[in-house]
Symmetry: C2
Subunit: 504 residues, 2 copies
């Protein structure tokens, strides 16, 4: 082994330790949402904070930096040796990218943000409970300022929002998002207008009650159908369903079991979409950033593909609906057509997470536009409720009666996060383009779903998306797989076709 | 704040970080035994190893040592300032004690032991499965040598065993153990001889079957009776029941649910005994070694007190038996007397963990004597089976038919642990002396148990044992609470009385 190879080995070992600790951090989070005794929540916060700080220290300490600098110029990104494999080169490139990003933000600033956001979360919860926006307003003001400072630390060319969204979706910009959303808005509004002239489908049979025990059994049947490998995964219950990748060999999902049958099913589909991605990461490179998902939007595209593109399709339900009927006698006389139409009902809702598939993106666009205007100081924190309600009226045609069901509904801003919401919309846009390609290339896709054969789509996603890890960017993966850059076209087409079919 | 106080604050923060990471390590272990997907066991081993190494590093690094040395002379233990509270002084004393112990053993030696023991565990499992002692023999040889080396590192005056047992029970020695066991052996043998002349009690009704679902319900009823605070605790299921203190505010137990009703009940009682100790540690000193249990034997005394001294008593069952009968119709016509006698049946067994209360300690004595002779080179590793079987015949009057049910039954030696087994016996000895005192001081103890009132004993244990944490040693706690040094007297008396009563 030459000098550089030895240096690489040392660096890799350091990074692998960091990745291992991050996996432990994920376990802390999983446990917190599933089995942690309620009285120990403050203990868990402390454990999480300590481990997070430790990981941050390891990522930014001189020891790591110097080792990295032996192999790559931190300023220019130029490698100091060519005697490395492609994988090693990519590993260094990604490590440098991460390091430069972490190192830009002073530790003291991170502490300040997390301290403020802890207080802001409390204030937000209180404000929402009391439906009193004033309690939260001063914290939002601080968070806007922090995000502007953060953008300055991170650097940007065009708009501070670019630096913020880049944290979640590398290279995404306000301009690109704006262009997507300007096309998406009229398309959705057009469909919505047409639908609102039609008769609402009957959804009364979805009100249940659906026994929780039977739902638990059905959840297992669904998991079995999806073939989530239970030797490396598990499913538990939590208030808010989530998935967590502790390691590619230990990926866990949760679902929520309440009266609502569909919430259980769509949660499992959504979280399995995430889990398949984590399970299929290139484990042979574990320890390198290559064995990570490439972006949040691409991750979300995987969950939305399963939840919506497959999970709300007629073909999927042609196979699975009989299993549901078998467990719930009340659905015995409800036809598959009626069930699918009810599941796909469109009706503007104040609450984002309770929204239908069509209007969901309008909620995201609303938040995106408000974030921009807040950063541009066009809206002051104290004036958010008015701006929110106005935009809600313009976009969705409804006005929340309270701020609790308006601008106080989401936790995200109180966590200090600006630039995160668009990844939810981008997930749909990417999923649409991927699904478009898949269905074009695989003529039998509907028959496969109807036969309950999910292997073709699972394998296709594994080969084309998951197995690349972070070797390619989201843009590159989309382009390689679909033979064109990411655009909004497939998504708009999909929505038009879908609702034309559903509402004749 | 003066210089020394500032120095203490810095040191305390470092130690608190270590303690927090140790709590996380406990969670990794808990998860491994409860919910970890089976295919991720190697991932978990790696995570555990990394975190353990990190903790060891933090405990022994120069940074910590120098800070400690600012306050206490590491060689003499003399404090460098008197301007500290009692608690601070004790904290330093314990930190020094731990540091000196850790620092005595070279890191390279620890690595060597853990590497060998990982291989030894595999070899042991293989040997047991194939009932082929030869597979394990060379590993035991290495482990004996390692333990002799370890004893040399740690230092001892009289016998290398003293250094080894001190790791688990500070200040315990081979001599003291020998003196206890020399009295205990004839006492147990005497009772055993008498019992073996009597008719065996009927235990057929304990064979079940007992529905697992009903056992799960009963487990919750028992937990409710014991008042384990579920806002800071929880109960799950695992193959081998255990308890784990992640933090005094997060203490978890497991039980095993199989056909055997009593195994479920005694597991819960045993693990709750441990859990009460962890829950009641002086949380106001969290971060200091004072907020730790004082020794393994004292811990075991708490579990045995609940499992055996309370949990096999007539008074406890007078209250609880009706609940059991309510759940299991097959016991409806079995009297309380008959049930208690069956539960307390004595019958020598090859397997330690399946042994009755009376002969259990003979299993420990057997292992203790063999460990001594192996360290003294009186028995060679290869000759263990013969020595084991001979001793088993002398002590218990039975001879295992295979090594799998003989000297290969326990995992402990393959883990590299010598000196651990005696803590199991000491737990009984301590529990007997404590229980003797409690029942002498509290005349209504039997009525309390019969009434289902466990608060008096719980409070007494909390005040006299748990709340001290590590401020006092096991010896000090026993002496303070029982007004005399630890001796074997109470235990022998208890056994004599108990079996005289049971077998008239």
């Amino acid at each position: 082994m030459n000098k550089h190879q030895k240096s690489f080995e040392r660096l890799f070992k350091k990074h692998e330790k960091i990745v291992t600790l991050k996996g432990i951090l994920s376990l802390l989070n999983w446990d917190q949402e599933t089995y942690l005794p309620p009285g120990a929540i403050d203990v868990r916060s402390h454990q999480t904070a300590e481990l997070t700080a430790l990981i941050h220290k390891m990522k930014t300490q001189a020891n790591f930096k110097n080792n990295l600098e032996e192999l790559i110029n931190l300023k220019t990104g130029k490698l100091k040796t060519q005697k490395l494999t492609d994988i090693q080169k990519k590993t260094l490139e990604l490590m440098r990218k991460d390091y430069v990003k972490y190192a830009k933000i002073p530790v003291s600033f991170i502490h300040k943000i997390s301290k403020t956001s802890a207080l802001a979360i409390n204030a937000w919860a209180d404000a929402r409970k009391k439906n009193d926006y004033k309690i939260f307003s001063p914290f939002l003001k601080k968070i806007i300022d922090f995000n502007l400072q953060k953008a300055d630390f991170l650097g940007y060319e065009d708009h501070p929002y670019d630096a913020l969204v880049d944290q979640f979706e590398p290279k995404m910009t306000a301009k690109k998002l704006h262009s997507f959303f300007q096309k998406l808005k009229p398309a959705i509004k057009n469909i919505l207008d047409k639908i609102q002239k039609k008769q609402e489908p009957d959804t009364s049979f979805l009100d249940g009650p659906f026994s929780k025990d039977k739902q638990r059994v059905l959840a297992k049947v669904l998991l079995d159908h999806l073939k989530l490998d239970l030797s490396h995964s598990r499913m538990d219950e939590s208030a808010h369903p989530f998935s967590t990748g502790i390691h590619p060999k230990d990926v866990r999902i949760t679902t929520r079991i309440d009266k609502d049958l569909l919430s259980n099913i769509t949660s499992i589909l959504h979280e399995c979409g995430h889990a398949f991605y984590e399970r299929n990461l290139p484990i042979e490179y574990f320890g390198s950033p290559i064995c990570e998902s490439t972006s949040l939007s691409l991750h979300e595209s995987q969950s939305r593909l399963w939840e919506v593109f497959i999970g709300k399709s007629f073909s999927f339900w042609k196979f699975f609906y009989p299993f549901v009927q078998k467990h719930f006698g009340s659905l015995e006389n409800i036809s598959l057509q009626k069930f699918c139409k009810a599941m796909n009902k469109v009706s503007p809702n104040f609450i984002r997470i309770e929204s239908d598939e069509l209007t969901y993106c309008l909620h995201i666009i609303l938040r995106f536009e408000l974030e921009l205007e807040m950063l541009e100081k066009k809206i002051k924190a104290k004036d958010l409720p008015e701006a929110w309600n106005h935009k809600m009226k313009v976009l969705l045609g409804i006005t929340p009666k309270t701020n609790a069901e308006g601008c106080l509904q989401d936790i995200h801003w109180s966590c200090g996060e600006f630039g995160y919401f668009p990844t939810y919309a981008l997930g749909n846009v990417i999923a649409a383009q991927l699904f478009d390609t898949y269905t074009t290339l695989n003529a039998t896709w509907e028959r496969d779903l109807e036969d309950g054969n999910l292997d073709p789509i699972k394998n296709w996603l594994k080969t084309n998306i998951h197995r690349h890890g972070r070797y390619y960017s989201m843009d590159e993966i989309v382009k390689m797989t679909t033979k064109r850059p990411l655009s909004i076209t497939s998504y708009i087409q999909y929505l038009n076709n879908k609702y034309a079919r559903l509402y004749a």
